[in-house]
Symmetry: C2
Subunit: 257 residues, 2 copies
């Protein structure tokens, strides 16, 4: 029986705890023995209070400690753990393995997804990117990851950094473009809802086509008349600028082919 | 019984024809009486050859002619129609109602979706944006649109222009960001597939949350350490530039709130 401990109480921690609790109930070969949370109450809806601690000195012995805290707190939290040579993994896309304290064996357990407080996610589809210092630790991380996800990958620190940047483009920046679309609709008294099926289809398309095959639109067609009409319609300088730069990028891309 | 004629043989024309054919078979109160296509063969898989013509002078009398051709061909095609005072609608997001020839009554029948040749779409979810010169024509357009879609809107030329620009942001530009994500993965030997659940969830999120509520990431958090680490990781000047401008735009946005 693998003993698991989770340190943290934010979005990622809560989603992980919920996923592990569900799997545990279905009889998996591991046990979530403890959760560390500074505010014990904030975890009360997820597990029994005797499994929650707010004192590092009360941390029970476990085979794996998952530190699910904000990026800039990882180094400090890992240095405060009052034990040595156990397996400690963080959950961050952008923090190096080496950021963890040398007192313990280092690992990464990075679920690549965007977590919102009030929106459940199906963990089975969420890719989990793993890294460790040695093969035995990797096997343990893999065993635990596979209990909650069908999509588990070995990804080193450099690859993970690339993946995190790529995720910024396809999630943070894409969402910001949704927002600009929303702003343009609002300014022109058009319901944003009209765009939702298009947003969904745009995402669906790249599940089966490569993005370059899926590309359409005035930039791709080098339709300068439409491009110029759009630029003169836009009055917001920031929207105009983003329109120009992304149009240029699509066009240069065509030339590269 | 409303008589419908479609002029054109591209993606939009083919998807419309397929949608009308399906609905017609289920007993709707209209008939697709004819399709105009320069290459008659290209339509042979969609309907009987006696319903296809490549000669404007053979166009049968219909209650509505839908011109589904490229934006720059709309004016010319509409001017070549050998009849007067009938209802003629184009399917473009960016062409004004007035672009149609004065010989006939003008309308717009704009399905807001991205159509690919080899990917079926469910027309019932596709918003159709309608415009006409008078109320009677609008009613006819609406009746026809509702036979294939559950999502029909009255959108004037100015609103349609805004909507088309918004669609460029949430479709063309979003897809280009997917491609940059793909490029970054390829350059760093990471499978793009790892990002697909995130792409899907990013789209799903704005079905229920507003984009501004759904926004996460280093730009939103003003996490300059991560932003600078990402910028020094990126070697492609174009990717760097897009990263900077979208980060700045998310940050300015926060200030506006």
């Amino acid at each position: 029986m693998i003993k698991l401990s989770i340190i943290g109480s934010g979005n990622v921690a809560q989603h992980l705890i919920a996923a592990f609790q569900n799997t545990q109930n279905s009889g998996a070969e591991f046990e979530l023995i403890q959760v560390f949370s500074r505010q014990k109450e904030s975890m009360a809806h997820l597990l029994d209070s005797d499994k929650i601690t707010n004192d590092f000195n009360d941390l029970a012995e476990a085979d794996l400690y998952i530190i699910a805290v904000s990026d800039d707190a990882i180094a400090e939290v890992s240095s405060q753990l009052p034990f040595k040579n156990r397996l400690v993994a963080h959950t961050s896309g952008s923090v190096a393995l080496d950021n963890l304290d040398d007192n313990n064996r280092k690992g990464v357990f990075y679920p690549l997804q965007t977590f919102s407080k009030n929106k459940a996610v199906d963990f089975r589809n969420i890719p989990i990117c793993l890294e460790s210092e040695n093969a035995t630790d990797f096997q343990l991380l893999e065993k635990v990851a596979k209990t909650i996800s069908d999509s588990v990958f070995a990804i080193n620190t450099e690859q993970r950094k690339a993946l995190h940047i790529a995720a910024v483009f396809v999630n943070n920046f894409v969402n910001h473009l949704y927002q600009i679309g929303n702003d343009i609709c609002t300014e022109n008294q058009v319901p944003f809802d009209i765009l939702k099926p298009l947003i969904q289809e745009t995402a669906d398309k790249v599940m089966t086509l490569s993005p370059i095959e899926a590309q359409t639109g005035p930039a791709k067609r080098n339709d300068n008349e439409t491009i110029n009409a759009h630029l003169s319609f836009l009055s917001d300088e920031n929207q105009k600028n983003i329109y120009k730069i992304l149009t240029q990028s699509i066009q240069n891309n065509g030339e590269k082919l």
